[in-house]
């Protein structure tokens, strides 16, 4: 494979997304950053450093890979390996900028079939190879950084919609199909998956499943793990195929054991998902509430008593103010807390009535359309913000409704306290709701110190402890990776960790799969 075959998201390694869609930071935002003490750092252009002195794959290992996949699908090219290094957390980007090549894979391989993945995994133990499954490369939790030398298994050649059952409304996708490609393939037949995470342009079906992705339309379409009705998993010991019915009482739901396993139990090669007819119209509106608490009550009412819209987001006062400071990003309104309500299908008056009744003020389609148009843009802003000397990162959690206010306060306070030398702006929104609770998504912006990687680690550690203490989960939709591993193990407890390790040891006795990811 040559670099020109690489997906768009990696044409500029270490910067988010399509280089043709890079955005500039609005002047108003730049001005605001000055108040945070953000100063553009002295230019130190990224110089590709020589590869660290390390042995690379042995001739025997290479020959094994070539025997399974064919020569053209095994690459040790340094540019391709560099483009497959880590994911897209801010820490990843900072280390990318520093040309830190410590997590670079030793080879990148491109299997074309489930059987090739099986053959690969079956032989990796014997050949002393660890593998990191890679579909979109959009992990923001260190999900691509194995703790020993490894081969990255890029699944892009598994790019087919292999079956569409229009009676059952299910589609079988190979794991490497990108979100955008999946929607295109379904749209051609009149259907949609309805899964639109912020990584939509880069992430793929297998990654959605492996990391329990949740998209912007989750109120209407559910999380990705709720869309999955079947899975095929390749493990070093063979295939597991799950899902003979939408639901079953035949034992534990093993699909839910594979979903979220982040490549530690096997490589998901195929996913059966529920699809829906493509909507013929969509409506997006902005709604203003006097404050976050009032908006929270409103969105809880919708989540509990309906009718739920397709998209339901509520920004707190700080996020509302920041977004409104840039009319191009999110115009309209006048302070308070901004909600974005999106509906697939006819305009949903009943939802609007609930919002009005709960004190909401309809701002019309303007802010809704602005959000819709810009909804994949936020991660693009991070790169120029880093260039400007700002530290920008997000984190997220979820909890039951009664814990949400205290959880939000506790995490915000922990961040402010941990970053007191570079006072941060902490923005928060709710973007995924359930009858019993919701997610919280926080964005942190402050001035970079001389060691921004360590700066963020300290802040993140404080936030994670606050989440644990306030009864939240360490991740609502980003996953565990390496960044959340310790907090995750604390969250589920040592006995549950042992049970998961027993599963891993059964399926992956040689520890070939994603070593260090999910489980220590």
């Amino acid at each position: 494979m040559t670099e020109s075959d690489l997906p768009v998201a990696h044409l500029t390694p270490g910067r988010w997304g399509d280089p043709n869609h890079q955005v500039e930071v609005p002047q108003a935002a730049l001005d605001a950053l000055k108040h945070l003490g953000v100063r553009r750092p002295p230019a130190h252009p990224a110089q590709p450093q020589p590869e660290p002195d390390r042995p690379g794959l042995s001739a025997d290992q290479l020959s094994f890979l070539v025997s399974v996949l064919g020569e053209q699908y095994v690459s040790t090219d340094v540019d391709i390996r560099w483009a497959h290094t880590r994911g897209y957390s801010t820490t990843d980007l900072l280390r990318f900028r520093a040309n830190d090549r410590s997590d670079m894979p030793d080879a990148v391989i491109f299997p074309g079939t489930h059987e090739e993945v099986l053959g690969l995994l079956a032989g990796c133990g014997e050949h002393g190879l660890a593998v990191v499954p890679y579909s979109g490369g959009t992990s923001v939790v260190g999900g691509l950084a194995a703790n020993r030398r490894f081969v990255t298994v890029d699944l892009r050649r598994l790019d087919q919609l292999t079956e569409l059952d229009e009676v059952s409304r299910t589609a079988i996708f190979q794991a490497g199909v990108r979100g955008t490609a999946a929607e295109k393939l379904l749209a051609d037949r009149g259907y949609t998956l309805g899964h639109f995470p912020q990584s939509y342009e880069g992430a793929s079906i297998g990654g959605y499943a492996a990391a329990r992705s949740s998209g912007q339309s989750s109120a209407g379409y559910g999380r990705f793990d709720q869309m999955v009705v079947g899975l095929t998993l390749a493990t070093p010991r063979g295939t597991i195929k799950l899902g003979r019915a939408p639901m079953s009482a035949a034992g534990p739901d093993l699909r839910q054991l594979v979903l979220g396993s982040e490549g530690a139990f096997g490589i998901i090669t195929e996913v059966v998902v529920r699809v829906r007819p493509r909507p013929t119209e969509r409506h997006f509106e902005g709604w203003r509430f006097d404050n976050f608490a009032a908006g929270l009550t409103a969105v809880r009412r919708l989540a509990q008593d309906g009718p739920l819209p397709t998209v339901l987001r509520l920004s707190d006062e700080v996020e509302t103010a920041v977004n409104l400071a840039d009319p191009d990003v999110l115009g309209g309104g006048s302070g308070g807390a901004l909600a974005i309500i999106g509906c697939d299908g006819p305009y949903n008056q009943a939802t609007a009535d609930v919002l009005t009744d709960a004190g909401g003020q309809n701002l019309g389609e303007g802010p809704g359309e602005t959000w819709r148009v810009g909804r994949y843009r936020a991660p693009y802003l991070r790169d120029p913000l880093l260039d400007e000397g700002a530290l920008v990162e997000t984190l997220e959690t979820a909890a039951f409704w009664s814990r949400i206010p205290a959880l939000k306060s506790a995490v915000t306070e922990a961040l402010v306290d941990a970053l007191k030398d570079t006072p941060p702006l902490v923005l928060c929104h709710i973007s995924h709701v359930y009858e019993t609770g919701a997610s919280l998504y926080l964005t942190v912006v402050c001035a970079q110190t001389g060691n921004p990687v360590e700066q963020w680690r300290t802040a993140k550690r404080a936030a994670s402890q606050a989440i644990a203490d306030a009864g939240g989960t360490i991740s609502h939709h980003h996953g565990v990776g390496t960044d959340h591993r310790d907090a995750y193990e604390t969250e589920i407890g040592p006995l549950a960790v042992e049970a998961l390790k027993a599963v891993k040891h059964t399926l992956d006795p040689d520890g070939v799969l994603n070593p260090g990811i999910l489980l220590s």
Copy 2:
């Protein structure tokens, strides 16, 4: 404990339900049975047989149990043990009638706290005891018949609603709370769980969770596994507590590993469930379709495009005819396929419009109310039918919509073929629907042979094979127990079985928990 403390459902061991609510078989049904060759067998009144010659618990074992629970909560009384023997499959009832005491527990114990359950499990290995968790005792898949001598752990003393969070709409129930008691406790506060399986009068919260129960209002309230947001599991190696948020991306959803584990991984002592405001009105209607295929299309439209009612059932032509033969059981209509549509809350005209558009004829509230009033009665009919010499049993499965028609035919044909010496009546209905598929529930009635246990086993084996071949799951809501164990292991495959056994071995290294249930 004395027999008077036993729950209603066991006052008449080996007969379903409350003895005050026993029903008689309608004369029309008795006449119909004659056409199937059903003849009342010669009376052989049930004589309690002496207990088989076996050693019982050792003094050391008894003393261990007493040390953990106190003397008054450890019973070796033969009547209490007999009342805890097996569940309520037809095979169980037949063996009960034959005074087959082979699966009788050696003691029945009644822990009162999670800590007592923990203490019990921690010591069982050392004392050579196996335990069978028992909450409602309503298993119909051999879920209470361990493959070696055992102590039954009756959870009835765990009978509290320990927390109701009205903001999050969650309730924490101890595992031994009966379905009826749970509804009563919630109704006092204005809420409902909305879970009404046919075992509602006898089953309990812990059993619902352990066996992935699904109730008659599943279209509106979901399955029990969809209501659970948290769980506490006591294992021989300690406690696992799960569920810090409605949903999480922090690894696999371990709640879904415990749900359906049928006591093989631990004893569920506490369940956190989503609750909803109690509806102020309910509507039930009958709808007639020309045939099952037309009804199937209609219910699929509701399941896929909505609006879903709360209760959605569709009987095939045979079940419709049989039910209509007895106007007291289900009156009105004139052949075809009968659907029962129930709505909590205001009358749902939009649902009615879909049904009309799909060719349905509204039969009004008569058949709906008749169904509602009699909806827990069907299992009561089985006892007098067995008295009359009929073999009556049910089985169920689920599959994706496109497979439903062929699956229904295949299972029916398999049953008819396997029972060709005693030609059966096979009734079928759909009672649980999803966007991508539905359940099928079949009732079989035929004349008993001289060995009805073996007669049913042969038929069930044929039906199970047909289900596997036609792409269904071995159980949509009855569970695995011992009856479905082989089919279950085939369904998920040997590698998944190994993974589950690894989990079991981790949590239960001495094989104390429900040996032989779920996993071989």
